[in-house]
Amino acid sequence: MKKWLFPGILAAALAGCSNGPANPDEATAPADVIATDLEAPWSINKQGDAQFLFAFVFGF
């Protein structure tokens, strides 16, 4: 019983992690990838071509 203490704590910590599964195989709605390896932070430009990206600044 005791030997599972650490993995149990780790699993609990991961469950509480804010990031969740970043895996499209586990996605609740399917989506197609248009572009990869984009540097953060990026914003989708909302005039015209959605594939045109423009950097912006945020703290959060």
Binding site: N19, A22, D37, N45, G48, A50, F58, G59
Partner: protein, 245 residues
């Protein structure tokens, strides 16, 4: 943010950090694309105070073509109620380098979208209490005096809040097929809100931190932000997606 007449003008607006005499500031500037290269052609507003966090900078055009900018409180909450400061405000700007404070009392507004003439803004709460607000000119949205479900005379309550126990960290928002799509960073989801009932009707998950969403009227695009130091990047991050509907 490309100008509405970008096809003809090849011009856009941007919001970025710059240094002056060893201090950091933000700037809203105009850019022009020429032979594949961008150059800065004008400054609309400079000297915007920065902070360690929440000092930027969503730019959006309303449907009547006016430019709006969100500016966070730069970690100095009282600035959001100071009419002499642009921090903690939503600004409206014009091409003559003039701006006005459109609304105040914002902590960290990162999303702007319009449903017809109705303006919506997404804002991060201090701890949970994230907000979707309907923005009215000259209205005061309460930070730091109230947040989330708190109320006070003369201060606007949010249209929707995540509540005191849930964190979305909402960034970009946009309308698509009559629903408001809300990108959530810490919430690692796209929240879908019915603007009639103000209910969250869906939560699209599995892509990590979502920075922005965009509808071109046909498809719904979204972009991840897993490489910003707060996420768990997977191969190929960050990615731009189109939702299969």
């Amino acid at each position: 943010m490309l100008k509405p007449d970008f096809d003809d003008s090849q011009e856009a607006y941007g919001y970025y950090v710059y240094e002056d005499n060893g201090k950091s500031y933000n700037k809203i500037a105009e850019f022009r694309l020429d032979s594949g290269s961008w150059s800065e052609t004008a400054v609309l507003l400079s000297g915007i105070p920065t902070g360690n966090v929440h000092h930027g900078g969503r730019l959006e055009f309303s449907e009547d073509g006016l430019l709006y900018a969100t500016i966070g409180d730069a970690s100095e909450p009282d600035l959001a109620q100071d009419p002499a400061s642009v921090n903690g405000k939503i600004l409206r700007l014009n091409e003559f380098n003039e701006f006005e404070i459109y609304s105040l009392g914002h902590r960290n507004p990162q999303g702007l979208a319009w449903d017809g003439e109705t303006m919506y803004a997404a804002e991060h709460g201090q701890s949970a209490n994230d907000e979707i607000n309907i923005i009215e000119q000259d209205a005061n949205y309460g930070w730091p005096d109230i947040e989330g479900e708190e109320t006070a005379d003369g201060l606007e309550e949010p249209f929707v809040t995540s509540g005191a126990d849930d964190t979305w960290a909402p960034s970009g928002i946009d309308f698509h097929d009559g629903a408001l799509y809300i990108s959530a960073l810490r919430g690692t989801a796209i929240k879908v809100m019915d603007p009639e009932s103000a209910e969250i009707t869906d939560s699209i998950e599995g892509y990590g931190r979502i920075r922005d969403v965009y509808s071109d009227g046909n498809g719904l695009y979204f972009i991840t932000n897993n490489t910003d130091g707060r996420g768990t990047p997977t191969e190929g991050d960050d990615k731009l997606y189109i939702l299969n509907e």
